[in-house]
Symmetry: C2
Subunit: 294 residues, 2 copies
């Protein structure tokens, strides 16, 4: 078989950077995005535009999708003009969106019925990880398909792991986000307490940021809170989406996660306050506001 | 002044190890413990028994206390037979118990009125840190007093920090415990989710234990959960005490900490289930039980 023809759907901040690495590595890429202008930089780098996800699939051996919400994943893969409508038997669809494990399994089955391979492969590492190709890529699906796609993942990321069958990539990402949710309420409440007690936050982090209380979050986002810096590393609106998926999926499995539910609600309050474009450390401001005199 | 005469009150697992380091360094030590037999190993090492905290103080320049609960601190320092009843002007009382910041300030003021110095100096690092003299020691009080006692702290610990005025050591320890509480609910709920989703917990921790979700807790206590190991590093009963102090103190300051309150309640449930002597990772069993068919 000749060199693999790549399709790429979704050229937001993450997708454009990831797709750019494949172009730089010499792969031919056909691209689609809901708003064409956002695909222009990728087209300038050599990608060819197609008018629908279906048209992308017709010209590709492997189609990557990196879009917004599970509904978008459903539309670009399973919709009338979606990837599956144009995909040939033997081709592969790789959804890298953080999306629902349940939908990943639905996509897998729909693809399987047409002889099309499917992987779910959400990432962590954010826009910096996408730009520097240091993403962690968590994959669900068949191991032979994973092995075939792995060289492409290695162009986009650093830690590449097959976690199990279809949906396991999304499950791993959800596990990651649930872990962050709990850690963040600890970071925010501990620093609120310290400030209320009159302590210097940086001095406190110097001490508690090592040892049994230490985490990436306290040492990175905690420092930003100490600096009154709520700029986004990871947007609140995206984290709210991820936690919502995790809660839906947990509910579907009859699994009660009260900590996650509480943290989710405070982040929903952040949305209500108009803070959807703050970084996740903006949770501090929600609980701070709740603790201020009116 | 001749070599400082040390008094030590409280020879539990932590206190015995810490006091032992001072004895090994050559300091003369007078010792008291509520149950005398627990002081025997320290006496065998050369410490001299006294019948009350007051009697200890009468023979000491610096008295350390390392007892159980704030009520115990109140009794051994401020009680009729307490340290302050026997302490000379110019001597120093150092409470290393994890106790209430409010009580630390009360002790400071009572000592000040009699010309006695006081420091609050709770530790983190557990029994291993006590044994290996690698504790973090978080100190509140006057800087001249801290400077004078610092050489003794350095015999017992590795990270020694003056955090502010009286109570600031306890406030820092509370900040540490609030941070751990949030992190633990994240660890436990994320691993419950992963197991329910059919994932291998160690494989998941391999991936999420790096990067933005990483913490000491997921990489150490998470691993123990994956191994079904609920042995105590830090006892649930002690963590419940610490969170209770933090909630009391936060309430006193009019600070609402809903995440801490939720986690505290699940640990109280662990006590109800008879799991007070499990390690803090036993929180997993509480939420697991809540998610099992009856």
């Amino acid at each position: 078989m000749a060199e693999k023809r790549i399709g790429w759907i979704g050229t937001g901040v993450m997708g454009a950077a990831m797709c750019g690495h494949l172009l730089s590595a010499g792969y031919p890429v056909t691209v689609f995005n809901r708003g064409r202008e956002k695909a222009d930089p990728i087209i300038a780098k050599g990608a060819v535009w197609a008018d629908t996800p279906k048209a992308v699939a017709q010209k590709s051996d492997i189609v990557f999708t990196m879009v917004g919400f599970p509904d978008d994943v459903h539309e670009v893969i399973l919709g009338d003009d979606g990837v599956l409508a144009g995909a040939s038997a033997g081709s592969t669809v790789v959804d890298m969106t953080t999306s629902s494990p349940d939908l990943a399994q639905t996509v897998y089955r729909a693809c399987f019925a047409k002889g099309v391979n499917a992987l779910d492969a959400p990432v962590s590492g954010g826009d910096i990880g996408a730009r520097e190709a240091t993403l962690a890529i968590m994959v669900g699906g068949d191991s032979a398909v994973f092995d075939a796609i792995r060289p492409l993942f290695e162009i986009m990321g650093k830690t590449i792991a097959l976690m199990g069958n279809a949906g396991a990539g999304q499950h791993t990402k959800m596990t990651n986000q649930i872990l962050i949710a709990g850690t963040m309420i600890g970071v925010v409440e501990s620093l609120l307490y310290a400030r209320k007690a009159g302590m210097d936050l940086d001095q406190v982090i110097d001490v508690i940021g090592k040892g049994a209380a230490s985490s990436w979050s306290i040492n990175n986002l905690g420092r930003r809170i100490a600096d009154d810096n709520f700029d986004p590393g990871f947007f609140i609106k995206h984290f709210v989406k991820d936690m919502g998926i995790a809660l839906d999926e947990a509910g579907r499995m009859h699994l009660s996660l009260p900590g996650l539910a509480l943290v989710h609600q405070f982040y929903v309050a952040a949305m209500a306050m108009g803070w959807e474009n703050l970084g996740t450390q903006g949770l501090y401001r929600v609980l701070d506001r709740m603790n201020q005199k009116t």
